[in-house]
């Protein structure tokens, strides 16, 4: 059978999925609701709508609708760069001499270089549809900022991106790309918001942080007419939009009668992983599949493998609702020696719940091992992976090598969420053997956990 599978498992436009899949609808035990940080009661539409766009808020709170139609205006956007390729890794299989079949869903061919565009598109579409004129967001490594710049430009919306200052200085080309797409980029902390000014007053030379950039973005969104904030990960409506990854992967595999045994994704805030696994996990929850699911995370920011399952804030400034999730504490800051993204302290609530309930496994990998896997992959498959995505490659290679030992012909599917064109400094460090593997000590984690709010729900 293997010989009949093409290298690229195409979907024609007719075969492209027209629905996002809302996994929560099929979860018997659902994630706990977001809480209002002051009242500690479940958050409502009215609480969220001053910050987020209306339809995404509805999606965030919708736990029952299984299939949500992708609006025609978003389908049109998706057609510009989707369906994303599902690739049989024949060359990698050969290099590993594994009996396993390896497939990867490659989300990096669009110019933003990652899967982030899958949610930037719909969020911009809904903003335009409800009559907004501008959006605000933050970006760290830059993938989300680039995706939003592309999407906002496409739908004719103004966009302001608060980019972590140290990142905007280290990655002038990311900045150039975002600005070329017409977005206004402000290095954060800035003097354009109260939260930015407060941080600068304490430390005028602050290089910023993702938490600070989120706070500035939310503040600006709330204070600006016809403007909202757009999040790039963690929240459930972002994961919903990313389900297009899994929906397409499943449609392509189904076409060839292929059932994956192991499904692997990298995890930072979790949207890429949640999107990839969604329809496959639905079958597992329904009992029609015995597939295993693996989250691959950095050992330097191990939310899954060493985090606590608690209600926590999504940002360091504590401006978001409380989210029940696996978290290292919003005060946890990953070591600066960590090269790629995936530096977020928390994790999407659906994934957190699935992990707690034993449906999802997790592995933490040190970055030198991750780059070793990336280089092995790129030399045979010809694609320069993002360091983030390379965590999934590492886990997939380990799994394939295990098959080599046992002789099992497992079918492995992993998500290659993006390309590494803007991460070549990290590859240089790996080539020069100056890359440092950092694993936080228990005391360091304890300091992070101390920032988790001490509320009754967390004392149970």
């Amino acid at each position: 059978m293997a010989a009949k599978i093409p290298t690229r498992l195409h979907l024609s436009e007719d075969e492209v999925p027209r629905y996002w899949y809302n996994l929560r609808a099929d979860m018997a035990d659902k994630p706990q609701p977001l809480l209002h940080p002051e009242t500690l009661t479940p958050i409502t539409k009215a609480d969220l709508e001053p910050v987020f766009c209306k339809e995404p808020v509805k999606q965030e709170l919708d736990e029952t609708t299984r299939l949500i139609p992708i609006p025609e205006g978003v389908q049109e956007f998706y057609r510009a760069y989707r369906p994303a390729a599902l690739i049989r890794a024949y060359f990698l299989e050969k290099a590993l001499a594994t009996p396993a079949e390896i497939y990867y869903k490659f989300e990096g061919t669009n110019t933003s270089g990652s899967h982030k565009l899958n949610s930037a598109g719909p969020q911009s579409f809904y903003a335009k549809a409800e009559g907004l004129s501008s959006l605000v967001t933050e970006t760290g490594a830059g993938q989300w900022g680039t995706a939003m710049a592309m999407a906002a430009g496409f739908y004719g919306l103004n966009l302001t991106v608060f980019m972590v200052k140290v990142s905007s200085e280290q990655k002038p080309h990311r900045r150039a790309l975002i600005e070329t797409y017409g977005a206004r980029l402000i290095p954060s902390p800035s003097d354009t918001t109260e939260s930015g000014r407060a941080i600068l007053a304490k430390d005028p030379s602050s290089g910023g942080s993702l938490g600070c950039a989120i706070s500035e973005a939310i503040e600006k969104a709330v204070k600006t007419e016809k403007c909202r904030y757009v999040p790039g990960s963690v929240l459930n409506h972002v994961a919903l939009h990313q389900s297009i990854i899994g929906q397409e992967a499943k449609a392509a595999l189904d076409k060839y009668g292929i059932k994956p045994d192991v499904i692997i994704g990298c995890a930072g805030g979790g949207s890429n992983l949640a999107g990839l696994i969604a329809p496959f996990m639905g079958e597992r929850l329904a009992g029609t599949s015995k597939a295993r699911f693996i989250a691959a995370e950095p050992a330097s920011c191990p939310s899954f493998t060493r985090g606590r399952y608690a209600y926590d804030f999504g940002d360091t400034a504590k401006a978001t609702p409380l989210i029940r999730m696996l978290t290292l504490g919003s005060g946890f800051v990953p070591s600066s020696s960590h090269a790629g993204g995936l530096r977020y302290h928390g994790m999407n609530p659906i994934l957190s719940k699935l992990y707690k309930d034993g449906f999802l496994e997790a592995q933490a990998h040190v970055q030198s091992a991750v780059f070793e896997a990336a280089v092995q992959f790129m030399k045979v498959e010809g694609i320069l992976p993002a360091p983030e995505s390379a965590h999934a490659i590492k886990a997939a290679i380990d799994e394939a090598l295990e098959c080599k030992k046992t002789g099992e012909k497992k079918v492995i599917l992993f998500g290659l969420s993006g390309t590494g064109y803007f991460d070549l400094s990290a590859y240089m460090a790996y080539n020069n053997k100056t890359m440092v593997d950092y694993v936080p000590g228990d005391e360091e984690l304890e300091r992070g956990f101390a920032s988790i709010p001490d509320i009754p729900q967390n004392r149970v």
Copy 2:
């Protein structure tokens, strides 16, 4: 009919062309032969084989075989990233409000970021097949060096890349990518060759040039056991390998019954343009098509529009055979204010001949107009184009706007030869309005022409 054409015109693996198309076989008037620079007689296999690999030499001299089978070992390599997408530019058509249909063949999704991989693959395959252990080449902007690093790594060959020193310093990330793929990169001029040492003796701080890098590469190839030199453009066998672009584009268009009226490509050394137009030009020469063909070149290095049709050297060190081509003279050096590639003084001999015979038109564009077109394109089509490729976009947009005036529903096909991830400094210059449009004066061109050899064949 238009509504039935998908955004992406896929070819399945069964539909992928298995032959390169050798346009010379269908040319009644063929390009003149390469000459030995000392004897001024047509070059022979024996002259070329000490420098180039055997099968490529055979292809270089083959004027009669129409279809050359792509070896299975190269087809396997192509399957890793081909077929390249043929995309209907619905969004660009809408933005321009043109009645024209616009299609583009996008060669940038592979990690080398350009079409260069199409020849790097076969050249490495043939080198391996004849038992060589290493290859040497040069690179300017870095696309060819990256492509060769990927291909040499794939086929298990050692590779040395002489990279123009100023470029290796300006583009550390290109360098990192080439090195990550396992190639040895030497900034040129270097002290590893006689020609490099000679240049350094005159000017120790020399930033190098493509001509100098070619000389060093050829010298090293000739002096090393089981080693040859691999060229990235200009020569006919490189154009032959690039015919896979046109072969695929034609197969996909034929599938939908589409006949292009205008076919446009950017031109530096000419391999991308020659490859794209080959099968369409074959029909034009046979009288079964009336399509127009347009070469888009930079006004700062105008080989087509202001060059002389003469026998000239391919490099500044005069180490190559003499090539009858459109040339600005091997002593012509494009202004450093010119941002992208396409800085070559000469032009592929097939294209030069077709231009002289009236089958091919040419346009020269200043770079600010080219970047304006690039930004217009990327905002609607979502792809960051290489500055080189943006010359073709500029010409395609002009053609589509002309259709808007006349109401003609022309079918326009252009080649989008690569992505601009490593060219964001140039986009920054465009955004900041610090980009300079340079057009060489007549005196400057005369100085270049003075370097064209004064041989009898050039006095006719």
